[in-house]
Amino acid sequence: MKRAPKPMIDRYNWLETIALYLGIFVFLFYLLSPFIEGFLVSLKPLSLLFSSPYSFYPRNGSLDAYWSIWERVPMLGLYIFNSLFISAIVTAIVMLIAVPAAYAFARIEFPFRGPLLGGFLAVNMFSGAVLLIPLFRLMRSLGVLNTYFAMIVPGVAFLIPTAIWLMRAYFLRIPKELEEAAWVDGASRLYILRRVILPLAMPGITVATIATFIGIYAGQFVFALTFNSKSEFAPLTTGLFAFFGRQEVIWNELMAASFVGITPALLIIVFLQRYLVAGLTAGAVKE
C-alpha cells in the first residue's frame, strides 16, 4: 500500500530542511560531545589516558576496558540489574500514587489545594545530604536497612512531588468539556479518570514516567550508599565507584562500565517513547 503523502503543512522547503538538520546537529553535538570524550577515554590504556596535543583519534586504542570491567568488578551485571529493578519498582509505585494526585490538583477545586501543592514542592527544596541522618534513623527503625527497600522507600518519597508537578500541567490542558460531557452522561468520577482523562494525558504521563525512572536510575546515590551495606543490593551508581582506586581512578574502565550501564535504560526509554505521541486530541472538541 502506498504511503499517504505528507500533508502540505508538514512539507519544508530545502532551506528549511537544511536549517532543521543543522540545528539538530548542533543540538546533538552539544549533548553528545562529552560522550565522545568519554568513549575515547574508555578505549585508551590507563597510563596514556591523557595526552596533548589533543587529537580526536586514540592512539593505542583498544576495547580491552570493556572486557576487564567484568574482572575487576565481577558484580557489575548484578549492579545493573539492581538499578533496573529498583528503578522499575519505584517508578511503578510513584506513578500509582502520583497520577491520581496530579489529577486532583489539576481538576478539582478543594480547600487547601494551593498550600498542599506547595507543601509537596517543599519536599524537593531540601537537599538529600541534609536529611541523611534523620532519614537513616527512620529507615533503621523501619527495619529496611540493607535491603532493596532501603533505596526504594526514600526514592519514592522524593520523586512523588516531581511526578505530580510534571503531570499536573498536562491534566490542566485537557478540555473540561470532555469530562463534563461524560459526567452528564452518567459516568462516575473514577470512570472519567480512567477512561477519558488518562488516554489523553498519555504524553504527560509518559514524560513523568521516564523522568521518575531516570531520577532513580541516574541519581539518588547518597541514599544507596548509606542505607545499604550489602553489595548484592547495590545499584549501578554506587557500583561504579568501585573503579576508584587507592591512588588513581581507573578512568577507562569507569567509562566502559558507564556505557554498558546506561544501555538497558536507554533501551527502556526507546520502548516508552512511543507513548509520547498524543492520543486523540485532534478534532476532539472545538474550542
Binding site: 529493578f85 548509606t226 551495606s229 550489602k230 568501585a242 591512588q247
Partner: protein
C-alpha cells in the same frame, strides 16, 4: 490490568531476598574497608583470625575510596558505628574529641617498631587512637629529557628550593615547557602539596601543645617559594589537582612534580627518561623531609566488640602480615626491616621515599580537619593567583585555624 500483578510480584521478590535475621550465636565485628574489593592479604588474615577466635565473625564491607570516610562517619553519627573502620589518620582527632572511638594501648616496643613519626600521626592528647595500616610519602620526580633540552644536567635534580625554582624557570624559558607542577585546585591534596614545602623546610602547622605554628619564618619561606615557582608552572594551576598534574607529567609536558610512589608504576611505559629524588630542602631545613600520610584502623565505641576489634586490627598489621599487604598495595612500609631493604635493593627508586621520613611531618591533626583543609587551600589559592601576599595570607590562615583546633 497487568500492572498490578507485576507490581505484586516485584514486591514479593523483594521481600524474598530480604536477609533472614542473623543468628545471635556469633558476635560480629563489622569492618568497613575502602576500595573496590577486599584486599586478598586482608581477606586471608581475616580468615586466620576468625579461626583463632571462636565465637567472633568478621563482616567486611567494601566501600569505594571516595565515599568510605563519609559512610563510616555517618554511621557513627547516627548511632550505629561499625566495629572497625579504615579511616584516614587525619580524622582520628575528630572522632576522639567526639568520644566515638577508643584509645589504643601500645607497648613501647610496639611503638618503636614503626618508622619515626608514624605513631605521631595517630597520637593526640598523649594517646594513640588508631592502628596504622597504610603509609605514603612523597618525593620529587623529574623529566631527564626535558632537563637536557633546557640545558640542565639530566642526572642532577634540584636540592634546594632556590635550585628548584631556577630549574623550573630554565625549563620554561629554554624548553618552552612548564617547569613544575603546581597543584592548586580546591581539593585536599593542594594542602598536601603545600605541606611538602613546609616539611622540607622545618616548618609546621600545629605543635604538640596544640599551638598554631603556621605563621612562622619557615612557612613564609615555603609559601614565598611556592609563589615564586608558580610563573613556571602549567597554565591554570587552580584547575589541577595532584593526579591531574601527574597526568601532565606522564604526558611529558612538565619538568618536575612532587608525587607518591604510585607514579613510578605508571611511569614504566613512559616515553621519556625520568628520575626520583628527595624533595628539595628549604633554607631553614635540617634534613630531607616529606609529608607522611597514614591511614589507620579505628575502633568505634559501643559496639560490644571493641577488644576483639583491636586485636583483629593489630593482627592485620603485625610485622609478618603488614609487609604482605604493603607489597600487594604498593605502599611505603610502616616498619623498617628486611622487607624494606629488599625493596630498596630491587628498585633504588624507593630510596627517596624512605629517606624523607627522617624529617617528615604528618597531616596536621585537627578536630575539624575539613576546616583546616578549606583554610589552607584558600591560602594557597590566594597566593598562587596573586590575590594576596604570602605574609598576609599566612597571618589570615593562622588566625582562621584557631577555631578548628
Amino acid at each position: 490490568m497487568r500492572l498490578v500483578p507485576k507490581l505484586l510480584a516485584g514486591v514479593a521478590f523483594a521481600l524474598a531476598v530480604m536477609p533472614s535475621l542473623a543468628s545471635a550465636e556469633d558476635k560480629t565485628i563489622t569492618f568497613i574497608s575502602c576500595g573496590d574489593k577486599m584486599q586478598p592479604a586482608h581477606a586471608d588474615f581475616i580468615k586466620q583470625w576468625e579461626a583463632k577466635n571462636a565465637g567472633f565473625k568478621v563482616a567486611p564491607e567494601v566501600v569505594g575510596w571516595d565515599q568510605c570516610q563519609d559512610k563510616v562517619t555517618t554511621l557513627a553519627a547516627a548511632g550505629t558505628p561499625v566495629g572497625l573502620a579504615y579511616v584516614g589518620s587525619r580524622t582520628l582527632k575528630q572522632f576522639a574529641a567526639n568520644d566515638l572511638i577508643v584509645p589504643i594501648e601500645y607497648t613501647e616496643d610496639e611503638k618503636k617498631s614503626y618508622y619515626p613519626f608514624i605513631v605521631e600521626t595517630v597520637t593526640t592528647d598523649g594517646k594513640q587512637w588508631g592502628i596504622p595500616v597504610a603509609f605514603s610519602t612523597k618525593a620529587l620526580y623529574w623529566n631527564k629529557d626535558l632537563f637536557t633540552a633546557a640545558g640542565l644536567d639530566p642526572e642532577t635534580p634540584p636540592k634546594t628550593f632556590a635550585e628548584e625554582i631556577a630549574f623550573a624557570k630554565q625549563i620554561k624559558e629554554k624548553a618552552s615547557t612548564a617547569g613544575f607542577g603546581v597543584v592548586a585546585k580546591t581539593f585536599d591534596n593542594t594542602m598536601h602539596q603545600f605541606l611538602h614545602w613546609v616539611y622540607s623546610n622545618n616548618g609546621s602547622v600545629i605543635d604538640a601543645d596544640g599551638k598554631i605554628t603556621l605563621d612562622s619564618k619557615e612557612n613564609l619561606e615555603s609559601l614565598t617559594a611556592l609563589k615564586d615557582i608558580t610563573p613556571y608552572a602549567e597554565e591554570g594551576p587552580t584547575s589541577y589537582e595532584q593526579n591531574e598534574v601527574r597526568a601532565i607529567f606522564l604526558d611529558g609536558k612538565l619538568g618536575m612534580i612532587q608525587a607518591s610512589v604510585g607514579a613510578k608504576n605508571l611511569l614504566k611505559d613512559a616515553k621519556f627518561k625520568w628520575g626520583v629524588a628527595e624533595l628539595p630542602q628549604g633554607p631553614s631545613a635540617k634534613g630531607p623531609g616529606t609529608l607522611l600520610i597514614t591511614d589507620s584502623l579505628a575502633v568505634f565505641k559501643n559496639t560490644g566488640v571493641e577488644e576483639q576489634a583491636i586485636d583483629l586490627a593489630k593482627f592485620l598489621t603485625n610485622s609478618e602480615n603488614q609487609p604482605v599487604y604493603e607489597a600487594q598495595e604498593g605502599l611505603t612500609p610502616l616498619r623498617p626491616g628486611a622487607a624494606v631493604d629488599k625493596l630498596v635493593a630491587e628498585d633504588p627508586n624507593w630510596k627517596p621515599f624512605i629517606d624523607g621520613i627522617s624529617f617528615g611531618g604528618p597531616e596536621p591533626l585537627f578536630t575539624d580537619y575539613k576546616g583546616l583543609q578549606n583554610t589552607m587551600i584558600e591560602m594557597v589559592q590566594a597566593v598562587v593567583t596573586g590575590q594576596a601576599e604570602p605574609a598576609d595570607a599566612l597571618k589570615k590562615a593562622a588566625a582562621d585555624l584557631e577555631q578548628y583546633k
